[in-house]
Symmetry: C2
Subunit: 162 residues, 2 copies
């Protein structure tokens, strides 16, 4: 395995794990085990869990933006129901479908001021997303609608029935 692929495996493992677990629940040890990488190698590639998480957010957002957000906006409905209920990143765990998790939403709700760079990266991402959704108060409102559906979906994995 080249160094490059080791790094990529760590990033993919982080994306997969952060998609379904809150930030404090995802440890470096678990990421390394999932990636099949010795823990001693981790710090050769990343200075900290926060550094890896920022790289994972960058990578996941690049995919999600291209594969989900932009096509949804192109249809004229920026909040496709299926995506809102079942957001996913192609290439991630569970055959590309992670039914009840949104990495950005979970991260935003589980990081604190103890991870200021990761928190800011998420804030910048939300700003970019809101701009894609029309910008200004309209963009933020549409994004809030989407993020809120995701949060509710976390607590109601079977979906809303009424």
């Amino acid at each position: 395995m080249t160094s490059n692929s080791t790094r990529e495996r760590l990033v993919e493992a982080a994306i997969d794990l952060l998609h379904v677990h809150a930030y404090p629940a995802v440890g470096v040890q678990a990421i390394c085990e999932s990636a099949g990488v010795r823990k001693g190698s981790f710090y050769h590639f990343f200075g900290s869990k926060e550094d890896l998480a920022i790289t994972a957010v960058d990578e996941a957002w690049a995919r999600y933006r291209t594969l989900v957000v932009e096509p949804a906006i192109a249809t004229g409905d920026p909040i496709p129901t299926a995506e809102a209920e079942s957001p996913c990143l192609p290439g991630s765990a569970d055959g590309g479908r992670v039914p009840h998790g949104c990495m950005f939403c979970r991260l935003a709700a589980s990081v604190t001021e103890q991870e200021p760079r990761l928190q800011q990266r998420l804030g910048d991402l939300f700003g970019e997303w809101a701009d894609m959704l029309g910008g200004g108060s309209e963009g933020w409102a549409t994004l809030a609608d989407l993020q809120g559906r995701l949060v509710i979906g976390f607590a109601l994995p079977e979906g809303v029935t009424s």
Copy 2:
């Protein structure tokens, strides 16, 4: 200190901590330290962290519903901007104001199927809240708007500027 007040202190400590940290980041040890209760006493009152969290959700929701949700609905604007940006529970840490945290939202985004009873309690709570907001798709949409603003606020604690 009576047993009753020991139990209450554990519940208050859990509310305070779960308001600002994700569920996996709040351990029984930290709750006991915050409450000034010996860890050995914890399991006299609660079978598990999940049991305490459910009790904390019940108590916090009873207050939040009465002190924030119902008055907001009575004004005709169920999503008062100040509350959405700065939700709080009177009586909790930081003089009653916890600027950037919503316990229910954080919990929903940080519990998993490993805490099925807590997850269901949150789902029931969201259902009750949506009913209060008009029920049906309208109630869920209004609740999603509110929860989404909270999530975005977590990543942008200084607020949205554009």
